[in-house]
Structures are given as C-alpha cells and as structure tokens.
C-alpha cells in the first residue's frame, strides 16, 4: 500500500473561516485555477472592496476597539468623565461569584440548546426526507416556526409555561412536577432552553433537509445493499456525508445560543426576581444599560469575544478536520 500524498485536495492544515464558507457553498469541482482578473488601475479592486470593508469597520472593528478601550476605564454613570483603572474591571468580573455562576449557566445553556436543536432538527429532517406523499405540506409546517421573531417566540414560550394557563406547566403537573417558571431557577432554565431550542429547530431542519437531499441517491442505494441495519447505515454513510452541513450548523447554533437568544431571555426574565438564570450576553446588557457600569460591561463583552474566538478556532481546528467536503 502506498500513500496518496499530494493528490487528495484535503483541507489545508489551518482552515480559515473564508475557506470554510467558500467550500461550504461551492460545487465540488469548483476549479482552483480560477480565472485571474486583471484590473487597469491597482486601486480599483480596493474601491470594489470599500463598501464591504466600511460596513465591517463601522459595525464590527470600531465597536470592538471602543469596547476594548472602555474596558480599561471606570465610566462615570452620568457621563461626566472616566478614570483609567487598568485591568481592574477584568479582575472584578472574574473574581465575582455571580459572574462565574452566569458563565457556568451560559455554558450549559449553549451546549443544551445547540445539542437539542441540532439533534431534533436532524431527526425531523431525516423523517421528512422519507415522507413521499404530502411532503410539501409537511415541510412547510415544520419550517413555519422560523418566521416567528425571537421576542414573540419568547412571549409564546412564556404563555406555554404560564403558571395559570400554560399547557406545558399542566403537562408537567401530571407527573407531579410543580413547575414555577420565573420563580424557580431550574424551572426557568428549562423553559428557556425549551423555547430557544424550539425556535431554532426549523432553521436546522431546512439545512439538514437540503443536506440530505444533496447526498446522491445511488450512494444511499449502494449502502442499502451493503448494510442491512438502518441505524448503522445512517451512522456510517448518511451522517458522514452530512458532516459539512452539520459543522456549519454547529457554528451557527453555538452563536445563536450565545447571542441570539437574548430576545427570548429578555422576555422571560424581565422585571422578575434576581434568582432567574441569564446568559453572559444578557449580563453585559444588564450591567451596561441597566446598571450603567459601562467599563465592567465592556470588560465582559471583551471576555465573551475572546471565548467565542477561542471556541471558533477550536471548532475549525479540531472538528472541521473530520469533516469530509465532497
């Protein structure tokens, strides 16, 4: 047996986000000998890039720099001035037991939301893919939920978990579980996870379904002849071929759970007792805009930025390696 060293166009050693999205979107045999465009003026390509760069600068780099800068200052609550305090904001935050508790909850929350929304989305997609009659209606019904705005989803979720009229609370009561959403920390956490997962399932469903339909029929048929057990077939052939989709969704869902669940959390905990679980992003908002501690809030968002940065690098470095791009 000899190796096939240079022939297989595997992913580069350190994949980049640009590479990832390019590969995710492009057709398999996209030529890497793409045509090189020659510009008359060397400035022209920069001019074409300018609008995009301007947007990134204004909405990403500039606020990021602002956040990093203000994280080293203690801001006067009324905006009359600020004092340089070095790393004091960071040490305060990291020493705080409350902050560490919220970080722990955020980790659990993110992991749970990502896992369940991916797993349920995949399950529904696999089942929908097998439906032959009336599949259009079926798919539309599943995708519908995605059209609901997060705060509305949060509101609906609240109604589902309402102490007096919530059907899910009544359902829990059948099993002798006295659910007190908004009062009991764990009950609120569970409600939060359920609503967040529910909101994200359709998104994952759409992507998994299109991923499934992108697997060549003949490959599945070949597997049908090679492997008798349906689950094993799914595990050894279908899932590996879905890996690019799954990896993309993993990143999107992690980001969703960390940041985009803000609306849901806001609706569920607003004006409630302080005993409710919140995520790190909500804490940034609470401290910065409710507590007027801009310095501490900035420090928190810088920490969050670093966490996401590390997490994304980890995902690309260690998980994407196992992903087979067709």
């Amino acid at each position: 047996m000899t190796h096939a060293p240079s022939l297989s166009p595997t992913s580069p050693a350190v994949p980049t986000a640009g590479g990832f999205f390019r590969r995710f979107r492009s057709a398999p045999a996209e030529p890497h000998f793409a045509k090189r465009v020659q510009f008359n003026s060397p400035l022209l390509p920069y001019l074409f890039l300018a609008p995009q760069m301007a947007i990134i600068f204004v909405f990403f780099y500039w606020p990021s720099v602002q956040a990093i800068q203000s994280s080293f200052y203690l801001e006067d609550p009324f905006g009359f001035g600020s004092t340089f305090v070095g790393l004091a904001n960071y040490t305060d935050v990291l020493k705080s037991g409350e902050y560490r508790g919220i970080a722990r909850f955020t980790a659990v929350f993110t992991a749970a939301v990502t896992f369940f929304s991916l797993a349920i989305g995949l399950l529904l997609a696999v089942k929908a893919d097998g439906v032959i009659r009336g599949n259009g209606t079926y798919k539309t019904l599943l995708i519908w939920v995605y059209a609901i705005a997060p705060p509305v989803a949060g509101l609906m979720g609240m109604m589902f978990f309402d102490q007096h009229i919530g059907p899910l609370v009544k359902f829990a009561a059948v099993f002798g579980w006295d659910m007190k959403v908004g009062l009991n920390y764990n009950d609120t956490a569970i409600a939060m996870i359920v609503v967040s997962v529910w909101k994200q399932i359709p998104y994952n469903f759409i992507f998994f379904l299109s991923g499934l339909q992108g697997i060549p029929v003949s490959v599945r048929e070949a597997a049908l002849m090679d492997c008798r057990a349906g689950f094993r077939r799914f595990w050894t052939v279908t899932l590996p071929l879905l890996a690019p989709t799954a990896f993309f969704l993993l990143i999107i869902n992690t980001t969703y759970a960390l940041f985009d669940t803000f609306g849901i959390i806001d609706v569920m905990v607003k004006d409630k007792a302080a005993n409710n679980p919140i995520s790190l992003v909500y804490k940034v908002y609470m401290d910065g805009f409710r507590g007027n501690d801009l310095g501490g809030s900035s420090a928190q968002s810088v920490i969050l930025m670093l966490v996401v940065f590390v997490l994304t690098i980890f995902q690309f470095r260690f998980i994407e390696r196992r992903v087979h791009y067709n």
Binding site: A4, P9, P28, V219, E221, M225, R228, V237, H324, N326
Partner: protein, 371 residues
C-alpha cells in the same frame, strides 16, 4: 452463484403507469444476460426490482430458488455496480470495498484477504488508501467493480456501468468485465442502452421495448433473425434498412424499381423488407440492378457507408472503401439475407429462407435478378 428466475414481473407506478409489463426471463447459473433497449424501455426498472431498490408490483423473482420479492436488498445476496459508481466519498478505497463485508460480520483477516485479492485482480492496489475523489473515472469504475467482487455474491447487477467513461476506456473495461465474469462464473444481469456493448458482453440478449420483451436470444441469433422491426433497427450499426415494399409473385416492388427474388415464402402483398447494410453488394457490370441514388457517404476507414435512395426510399449500404462510388450505383442482395416483417405489427413473418446456412449463401437459391 445461482440461477435467477424472473417470472411475469410487472412494475406499476402510482397513477397506473406500467413501466414493466409481465416480463419473464430464465437466467441460468453463471450466465451473462444483457438487458438492452432505448431509454424508458423499463430495463433499469427491471434491474432495480431484482436489486430490491424498487418494489415488485406483480410476479416473482427467485434467486437460487429463493423467492426474494420481500427480502431486504442487503439480504438478497447480490451486488450492484452503479452508473455513477456510487462510491462512498468519505471512505478510502479499502473501506469502500470492506464496508459490505464489515456489516456482515466477516472476520477482519478474511476481509483483508478478499480486498487484497479483488484489488490485485482489478489492479487497484496502489490506490487502497485513497479517497474516491482522488481517482480517475476508470479507477473509480474498478473500485465499484471491486466492491461487488469482494462480496462474492450470487449475482452481479450492472446498471449501465460504462456510460460515464470515455469511448476508449469503455471498450477496454468492456473486455475486462467480460473476462472477469467468465473467470468468476457469477450470474450477471447487465443493463445498457448501447447495442454494441450488449452484443459483445451477452451470453444472451434481452431486447426490451416499452416495458415488454421484444426478443431473447444469443447475440448473433438476435442479429441475424430479429424478431421485429424494432429489434432489427435497434441491434446492429448501421441500423438495418427497413423498406415498405409490395410483393407480386416472387417480385418485390421498391416503388418503381423491382427486385426479382426467384423464390419467396408465403407473404402478404404489403410488407416491410429488412436488409442489413453489409448484405448489399455492388452488382456486377452488366447485371440488372437496383439503382441507388447516392446522397452522402460516411467513411469509417474499414468500411464506407453509402446513404442514398431507391425510388424515394432510403437505403444504407456498407461497401468496401476501395470501390469508387458514382452518383448512382447498382446494388444487389442475396435472397437468403432478406428479412420480412408484417407492416402493421412489425413482427417477423418467417424464419430466414435458409437458417442453417447462417452467413453463407445457399447454393439452392438463384442469385436475385434485379429488373
């Protein structure tokens, strides 16, 4: 290894479309059967029913005496080679070959041995650690073959396995498939739309049209005694000339021109006459002749295809390239090589005048006189 018996099998889709209509084929152990026909004739559907990828609407299929209508594809003891190879893109060549065996609980040592043997046979040993995308089309085709071979199944099913290869590779792979099948002696069912592939590979040909069997027979049998105008025009290249003629005694009228055959079996007055292009020869100078007005010539190197009309009816003759072609040429044909078909049903009317003589001309028959 096993015999396959396809008995009155039909495929009826929801909505009532009947893709395969009561087809019966008896396949002997070790036989190479080729299903051939134009697209939409139901050949792939029939193969997929045997494979278990399509449900059998009516009839039964038995493999080695076991009825497999309701048996899972993986339990039918068959292996299939797909048109687009259908290799698992995320597995190495070795894993592609071993996958089916692993799932059947074959011991690791035996898997290794079988994969090594198949790889040696197909000369894909250097690529065992590669992924399919790093292979050329021909190499992928070999891997697909290997995946079927390692299983040592009762039957191989081929679904147009060579149509994605270039012409040259197709010819060499064709030869390899034939040799391999002979060596392994595995019963094979092969689907193709390419009549040349069908002719060269098959022990027996099954010509399908519109979901029905037009003819089953050995390749030369089908070639020399096509059962219908459909088979006559489908098998053989160039296609057999089919001309509407009227009979008068022993004479056949091509519009204004007349072919005197000397002797004819009982035939209706209106019939379809079939003549293979290579059975048309230049008439000797001075002979009475069927005059072909030449329209264009295709040079094939070894042969020259002369296309033209005889009183408005198109004919193609395959002639030697050494002969000079004038604007109008005189052609003649041996009466033993005439094929007669019923014009309305398209069915063959009689056996050839002298089937025992085969390709040779019968001494008892006079040369046709062309008036």
């Amino acid at each position: 290894m096993a015999a396959i018996d396809i008995l009155e099998v039909s495929k009826i889709y929801a909505g009532g479309v009947e893709a395969v209509k009561s087809v019966s084929i008896d396949i002997a152990d070790g036989e190479f059967i080729v299903l051939v026909g134009p697209s939409g004739c139901g050949k792939s559907t029939l193969l997929r029913m045997v494979a278990g990828l399509e449900e059998i609407s009516k009839g039964t299929v038995t493999i080695g005496g076991r009825r497999i209508n309701d048996v899972e594809p993986a339990d039918r003891d068959i292996a299939m080679v797909f048109q687009n190879y259908a290799l698992y893109p995320h597995m190495t060549v070795y894993d592609n070959l071993a996958y089916g065996l692993k799932n059947r609980g074959t011991p690791k040592a035996e898997i290794d041995a079988r994969v090594a043997e198949a790889a040696r046979m197909l000369e894909i040993e250097p690529y065992l650690t590669r992924k399919p995308r790093a292979l050329s089309g021909g190499q992928r085709q070999r891997v697909a073959m290997g995946r079927a071979i390692v299983r040592k199944p009762a039957a191989f099913l081929f679904d147009e396995p060579l149509s994605n290869l270039d012409a040259k590779l197709r010819v060499s792979m064709r030869g390899e498939i034939k040799q391999l099948q002979k060596r392994l002696g595995t019963t094979s069912l092969y689907v193709t739309h390419d009549q040349l592939e069908a002719m060269t590979l098959a022990d027996r040909l099954v010509v399908l049209n519109g979901g029905r069997i037009e003819q089953i027979g050995r390749p030369l049998e089908v070639y020399h005694t096509p059962a219908s105008t459909f088979v006559a025009s489908f098998i053989g290249s160039p296609a057999m000339n089919l001309v509407q003629v009227t009979r008068e005694g022993t004479r056949l009228h091509f519009g204004g021109q007349v072919l005197e055959t000397g002797r004819l079996p009982p035939l209706p007055a209106e019939l379809t006459l079939g003549i293979r292009a290579e059975d048309l020869r230049l008439a000797q100078p001075g002979d009475p002749s069927l005059r072909l007005k030449v329209e264009y010539i295709e040079e094939l190197g070894a042969q020259r295809l002369v296309h033209g009309t005889v009183d408005g009816k198109t004919l193609t003759a395959a002639l030697s390239p050494e002969i000079d072609i004038a604007d109008t040429i005189a052609l003649t044909v041996a009466p033993s090589r005439l094929h007669f078909f019923d014009t309305s049903t398209g069915k063959r009317i009689t056996q050839p005048l002298d089937p025992a003589a085969g390709r040779r001309e019968s001494a008892t028959l006079p040369e046709p006189v062309l008036v």
